[in-house]
């Protein structure tokens, strides 16, 4: 099944046992989700980027509502903004993007929604993966990039870079794997201009938050 990067990213953080989104760094994941949507649009030839700007080359909807919402926003903008601007704007839409992605995964029967009750009146939604093969295949491709010296495919580069930006590798790899693959992760992560901006935005938001708490 051909899933978007944003869908794969969400699947990687769903805890199979609890059905919860197991997120080590929620802010980083939200910024990475925004970046994932931009990367998906880029891989589908809807947008293109260089070091200074991001622009629409084809405004035909992709059929994926999470991607099409952001595509429409970019298309509506009169001037070409930088990648960093768009990562930040997409990050602001992260809750909506996440909900749309989860709804899409439910529709595709990749996860099953469950409602859990807490103290009789609080409802929590959980998502049980229904197809472990998809998650296994996603992880296998990540491992291939990290531990095989072959030139990686663009989509795999993007996935590795997003996992790095969202700080997911400590949960995906053993300590030994993490240590041995660190140089490769660094090499692959910088190959995508969009994920470079994702990391910059994460840094900026954290800096702004620490300044705000200081004052």
């Amino acid at each position: 099944m051909n899933l978007s990067l944003a869908e794969k990213l969400i699947l990687l953080v769903i805890n199979e046992a609890t059905g919860k989104l197991d997120v080590p760094d929620r802010l980083a994941l939200n910024v990475a989700l925004g970046g994932a949507v931009l990367l998906d649009l880029s891989l589908r030839n809807r947008i293109d980027t260089d070091r200074n700007r991001l622009w629409v080359v084809d405004n035909t909807p992709t059929g994926n509502s999470a991607l099409d919402t952001i595509l429409a926003m970019i298309d509506k903008e009169d001037v070409d903004l930088s990648i960093q601007n768009w990562v930040y704007i997409a990050y602001k839409e992260a809750t909506d993007v996440r909900n749309r992605i989860l709804a899409g995964l439910v529709r595709k029967k990749i996860v099953r929604p469950e409602v859990k009750k807490f103290l009789w009146f609080f409802n929590f939604q959980r998502f049980r993966p229904q197809n472990a093969e998809i998650e296994r295949e996603t992880k296998r491709r990540i491992m291939d990039v990290l531990f095989d010296n072959k030139v990686p495919l663009a989509e795999d580069v993007a996935l590795v870079a997003l996992c790095d930006a969202a700080n997911l590798f400590p949960a995906l790899l053993s300590n030994r794997q993490l240590e041995s693959s660190a140089p490769r992760i660094q090499q692959v992560a910088r190959m995508e201009l969009i994920t470079q901006s994702v990391c910059a935005v994460i840094g900026e938001v954290y800096t702004a938050m620490s300044r705000a708490s200081f004052y």
Binding site: S42, D48, T49, D50, D58, K150, P152, M191, E192
Partner: protein, 122 residues
């Protein structure tokens, strides 16, 4: 034997000189979303078993976008699978800087000019 192939497009032109298993492909124009498919197809056609080395002469390339970089990545993988050495020579400073920022020069060897690329061996 020298043979010249012209794979012309509207915004991209590729001329290939093939000599004794070594291909020098002169690329002119922009490599972006509008030309990346044509660029990929044109260069990939040169990865034949009898071509052990393909040097992309980028002197005429004035711009490479993210889509262009992805095309280069795909070609690097295709060259690897075809057991063919792909190199890039003669990039202008803007194109070179995008290769440096993204670390692409570690995926595809980059040289100042075609002669240096050819002398670097296969």
């Amino acid at each position: 034997m020298t043979e010249t192939t012209n794979l012309s497009g509207k915004r991209l032109n590729i001329d290939a000189d093939i000599n004794d298993g070594i291909v020098v492909a002169q690329v002119d124009g922009r490599v972006d979303t509008t030309t990346s498919v044509e660029f990929e197809a044109g260069i990939q056609a040169l990865f034949a078993p009898e071509h052990r080395q393909v040097v992309l002469d980028f002197r005429g390339v004035d711009y490479v976008s993210s889509a262009g970089l992805r095309a280069v990545l795909l070609l690097a993988r295709a060259a690897e699978e075809a057991n063919c050495k792909m190199k890039i020579a003669g990039m202008n400073s803007d194109v070179r800087s995008i290769f440096e920022v993204t670390g692409f020069q570690k995926v595809v060897p980059v040289f100042d000019d075609v002669a240096t690329a050819l002398n670097a061996g296969s």
